[in-house]
Subunit: 456 residues, 4 copies
């Protein structure tokens, strides 16, 4: 891929995804629109409106359209779809000319082409990428399902879990999003109902213009919206971008978690660093979580754009054109997202996990962690105010730097309750690293659940 830097958009000069070009570039868009015109010709052929010869002429013309000529023509006549039509017309015989774009309005072409290319980009690139990441996270979750980690709430040490369990959460959230993206993609609809959606011209020539529409779209693997105006109803597209944006949110959360686990004081995970990689232009010692930071940053750049999608739900009467320019920016959301998925794949594949540091961090709070089980054991043993009692003891042990376990075990006032605590429970108080609940089992269960649901 050759690259230009005389560009404004980082999507193109820096975060591009080559494989998406054939669906989401402007060149691709024009080809997709031309395909819709070809599909129309096919239906005209089937309805014997045009001859096989004319049909072939049109198909050939359509396949040879270049974006340059369309833009050139648009400059002259100031209408993008008519420009495309004219370019096709130029390439066919006089006899074929009348049938180009016949019965169609611009947005029969544009809206249909858009959902088609969104669908193809998702099916061929984005979903496979999402699934690839899911698999990597599954592996990590399984690999570390028994690796002790201190669970953190409010940035504070809470109760122990395993690293595999904390990753399993992402396996689940990402799995759900994969399903949502798939559903939303399948729910995208096309249209071929004419200038105001009432099949005004089609209905003069065909008994059942909705059948005509169905035919044009099924050639393209699409279904028509049950009703449309000049444009398709905007909600399926909004649902679709919602599915993408919420998927991006899962990435961003993962990235944030890892960024913080890579903090100098925590050091539980790290981005792999290449031999030649420079961390800072002035501090030669730095190893920064630059890729996790990049994903979070991209999310901040892209998230607000969902608002454009929501604002574009409003179009006056049978449509105004104020969603036209804004829609042209939507493919960027897909590219930015996929670019971040791929980055996440790269760094997840080589994620460095430091089980020693996890253990070390856990140890820091070992003595305090037993406060919860202790409170619960006392409560179950019948202590009427166990939470408050333990809270007081924690304060005391922090002041006096004593072991909470010892302090309580030696406290005569709670002896009757202590005596009811059984051995297995006492073992946990002595060795809180066993207090990980069903972390390991759950990690396995979740991974299996999604293996099955996604058939991967």
């Amino acid at each position: 891929m050759e690259r230009s830097f005389n560009l404004f958009s980082p999507i193109d000069y820096r975060y591009s995804v080559e494989e998406l070009k054939k669906y989401l570039s402007e060149e691709a868009f024009i080809k997709y629109k031309a395909k819709v015109e070809a599909s129309l010709a096919k239906v005209l052929l089937k309805r014997k409106f045009i001859s096989e010869k004319i049909y072939r002429e049109i198909v050939e013309a359509v396949e040879n359209i270049s974006p340059e000529e369309v833009y050139e023509e648009e400059k002259r006549i100031k209408h993008d779809i008519r420009a495309l039509v004219n370019c096709i017309r130029k390439r066919v015989s006089e006899e074929a000319k009348p049938y180009i774009h016949l019965f169609a309005t611009s947005y029969d072409i544009v809206d249909t082409a858009n959902v088609m290319r969104y669908r193809d980009a998702v099916e061929n690139v984005i979903l496979p990428d999402m699934i690839r990441l899911e698999k990597i996270w599954m592996e990590i979750s399984l690999r570390y399902k028994d690796t002790l980690q201190i669970g953190r709430t409010h940035g504070q040490h809470a109760e122990p879990i395993t690293f595999g369990f904390s990753i399993a959460l992402y396996v689940h959230r990402w799995g759900e999003r994969i399903v949502r993206v798939k559903e939303a993609k399948e729910n995208l609809k096309g249209k071929f109902s004419g200038a105001v959606g009432a099949y005004n011209s089609l209905s003069i020539f065909f008994e059942n213009p909705e059948e005509f529409e169905m035919d044009v779209l099924s050639e393209l693997g699409l279904k028509p919206a049950e009703i449309s105006t000049q444009i398709v109803p905007p909600e399926p597209v909004a649902d679709f971008f919602h599915s993408i944006i919420t998927s991006f949110g899962v990435l961003a959360n993962f990235a944030d978690d890892m960024r913080h686990l890579q903090r100098s004081e925590i050091g539980e995970v790290g981005e792999a660093f290449e031999e030649k990689q420079v961390g800072s232009s002035t501090m030669p010692q730095k190893k920064n979580p630059v890729n996790f930071e990049n994903i979070k940053s991209m999310w901040k750049a892209i998230l607000p754009r969902i608002l454009t999608v929501y604002m574009d739900q409003i179009s006056e009467h049978q449509r105004d054109l104020t969603n036209s320019c804004s829609q042209r920016f939507l493919p960027e959301i897909l590219v930015a997202f996929d670019s971040s998925v791929r980055r996440m794949i790269r760094i997840s594949e080589k994620l460095q996990v430091d089980a020693e540091n996890m253990e070390k961090n856990f140890k820091m709070s070992e003595f305090k962690i037993i406060a919860e089980p202790l409170y619960i054991f006392l409560a179950v043993s019948g202590h009427p105010d166990a939470h408050e009692y333990v809270r007081g003891k924690v304060m005391e042990c922090m002041r006096e730097k004593k072991s909470l376990y010892k302090l309580v075990m030696e406290d005569e006032s709670v002896k009757p309750y202590i005596d009811k605590i059984d051995e297995r429970q006492k073992e946990i108080l002595r060795n809180p690293s066993k207090y990980t609940g069903i972390s390991s089992k759950k990690a396995e269960k979740i991974v299996n659940l999604w293996k099955e649901r996604l058939s991967i």
Copy 2:
């Protein structure tokens, strides 16, 4: 309902929905949280952890909690859920005290209470309201299915439709949103998995802590998230508010359409005006679309809040608390939305439709409207450049203020094509009010489709 005006929030002093108070007010929230505590007691009873007597004590205590006492206690100890727990504890015997909130973490209670009240508000108030509006729009669509209206694109007269057809679009979009809201509501999940989601304490006492969780939630009619941390995964809630926000977008679009159709120069629809109603404080003649404007305005106030939902997808590690305050604002979205649905019901019920003005506006452009069918007839008749030919003729007829039909009929150069146009087509050229495609039929079809899909 008595009202206070010593408040900051218009949601309370002005746009309140009384029926939603028992689900979405702060008082209701506390009651819902208490219900989760009661459900826990029920499961403890079933597992024979507590006696019937203790269970009854707890249930009674839970039913009598007042928000005032909880807030009073919170002021003392600075923790909202522990305050609630303390208030319940105060009302039960020493013997019962240890079992309150046992095994639970705050967000087992909070997240579960929230999805429960969202669900109840939707099932009992919001969906019924949405369906009521759907029915009204269905009626309007059917009533005016044959009422001629000029279709508008870009604010410009395009092709004719019927008013019922234009409303049918909203019947469809709104119907789809009803389905989406219903699905999203059903997908909301609770949790009872403890402080970091690994069932740390539960797993010590119960072989199958996930079953315990399932039981607590099924008492409340909920299912647990497949995996959670201290909080439930945020995506189902994001999907839910997406369904609400996109529904709001449909309302806003309808409101905008009507606002413009009520413009002085257009006058096709109008909000009913009461005898005593004042339109302007200084212009006694004014009749403004104030309710449609209000709905659009409310949408502008509420739409951006979806971003908070998306930002709250990010919570560090097993959770940070930066989604706590922000979540408290989410019920307002539901109230504002329902308040606008109800307003839309009121004005849609009495919508004034001026078929005469619709006809008059249609007539304005009658002579130009035939340009499309004319171009298509010529094209189908074999004219190789029909679009450009007609475009030229339109320019000419506007300059010379002549009838397009006449101009073309008299043009010798296109006679061969004209001759191929059949009578039924010529009739449309002479009487373009017949050029409404399948508007009427489609309106009927869409209404029937949604009657069936929603079983209403």
Copy 3:
């Protein structure tokens, strides 16, 4: 300008502004960053840290850097600024090498380069464009300062104004924004304070490291932030983009106003249409306000991006990198804005104003418009309930299709008050087209005000 269509971003393939490339393209960015490195060399020379010879070497190297080589090197070492530094180093002697980037951290270069190019883009392209538009709107305002137009509130006819008055509002709002953009641009600050902002390395070699910073920046026409971390404080940049986004809002409002005034039923203004221009791909008769629609649409695409700027106010401790990728998208805001300003210039220059239609629309409501002056005249004459009285009469005259003036003049019950209305006032009741207040004078005054304030 040759264009590529194998791109995702409409900013580059469709809405590009050639003149901005030398400030805001990636290529330009690299050149700007290199300039900061050169400025550093200049100061090292002045401080006699390096020789004239070394300085010249560096300057020459800096001027010859190509983006391709920098990206090539970045691929190897994964650090953009170090890549730039290496590329400069490669081009200089061993002796000069140590002084490249000496004392600098990456963001001394990046943040400084960014504010510099924003400033230059604004000074050289955007502000001149804004002023050009201001002048065109001034002309329109003056040209039509006496052209009667019905003022509209709520889309309803209210009181008469002049078209020039309605444009004067935009002259004023736009003028204010020009001032705001200018101020915000001047308040942008650079930095040269090192890795964490404390001049850690500089302070070892220089008594007054802040003076060193000042020197590096004044070479570039900038001032340093009073304090910085690794990055400059984000607020001046936020203020700057706020000034741009609110300017865009004024454009969008203007566009919306014109779109609606171009509605078929209103027809007061129109975008000029070229001879060859096509309005619709299927409706040859259409003349749509496509440029006004485009501007509104671009605003919807760009507005939400301000949120990224606000989110980027947060950077952890002495900075995290989560603002790096997101910042790369900021130049697009400037390009999109300027592209819309230029579009607005093109269509404003040729704005078609239809004074006849304005008059016709005014006439529609002439009879109702006098309600306000009538109510006020009666009130001033002492009628205790004039507003309610007139409101009733308006209702009556609408029911009975009578003239409001006649109805009131003939009403004996108000005769005592009528008699107090003087001749000049009665003239207004008879000829409400004179009821335009100080529209004309105000238009003139506002235009003169801004001519003076902007010295244009």
Copy 4:
């Protein structure tokens, strides 16, 4: 303050600021609107349009209006301002009635009342609160100006600073925002130009209607917009809320910094914890940064609302009403912000700073920190590739767990450069805690700068 919990809005039931009620509650709003009506009466008196007696009647009436009666009347006539006017009218003599609201349109009252109360809330509560916080941060900055802290970039240890320096950044950013809020508040403008802004009715009775407007507003301490329609131009209000939202961003960043510095592994700062305070409902040992989390969370809830302000820049023609409902939510932004400022004051006042932990964390990276000065010393000593050399040595010392200083000092290959490093520099390499640049001095300088600029 008694509180109701039968409310939806957390702004009222939970985050209320009592002192703001007299400016920003609905009750206050009605009083402010009544004040504008009184001001009009004052000007009518001065112009001898009404007698002193009538004026007194009006003033007395205005002072006694209750929100309940206004809402009651609005229910009847569906117009909020006319309802207010009617309520005043009811309380005055027949003779006085005609002069209530004379010449005014609703938004002369509403827009003027709004900017007045925003101004008063800012002047009397918000700015004093902001300044109080500024002083507290100043104190902290000075108190810890020499307290060593490791500077962090990317969450990684970078170069040392002092804690006072890191706070000084916030002193500066907050100081700048105070100035911005003050300016924006002073730039808010009122209006009294009538229904479409052309002084249509006023101009019939007064030679200079702009002077009349000026008078009405100067009674209220305001200036008129240079030109208005039915409403004031929206930009000054947008600038104002921008100043508030960006101030909120500074709070949010501070909160985030502290949250992370309070992490279990870092422990450099902490929120003061009260004796009775509970950290977790189930984990008695927890001390969470709940107030910092709350501020960040409130910011996430409020930030997106700025978009409503930007969307409300668009109002069709002389205005549509779609900004009316949305504007009613704006005071909530001020309350939420001030509530967070006050929370920040409370926790900043008692901020616990753990200098020991700061030192301990610094020590962790001491050996790596010298990489930057080392590279620079070598570079200045003429080493042609010092950055790369040191980067390699850091890798080596991490692999071999050796001291970087030792490793380099013993490396014969760089001896010639080492020899050029002077004693003061070597001292830094041996004792990097001295490598804090001008941290301490800068903290002092910034505090003094803002003491002076704000005269506090």
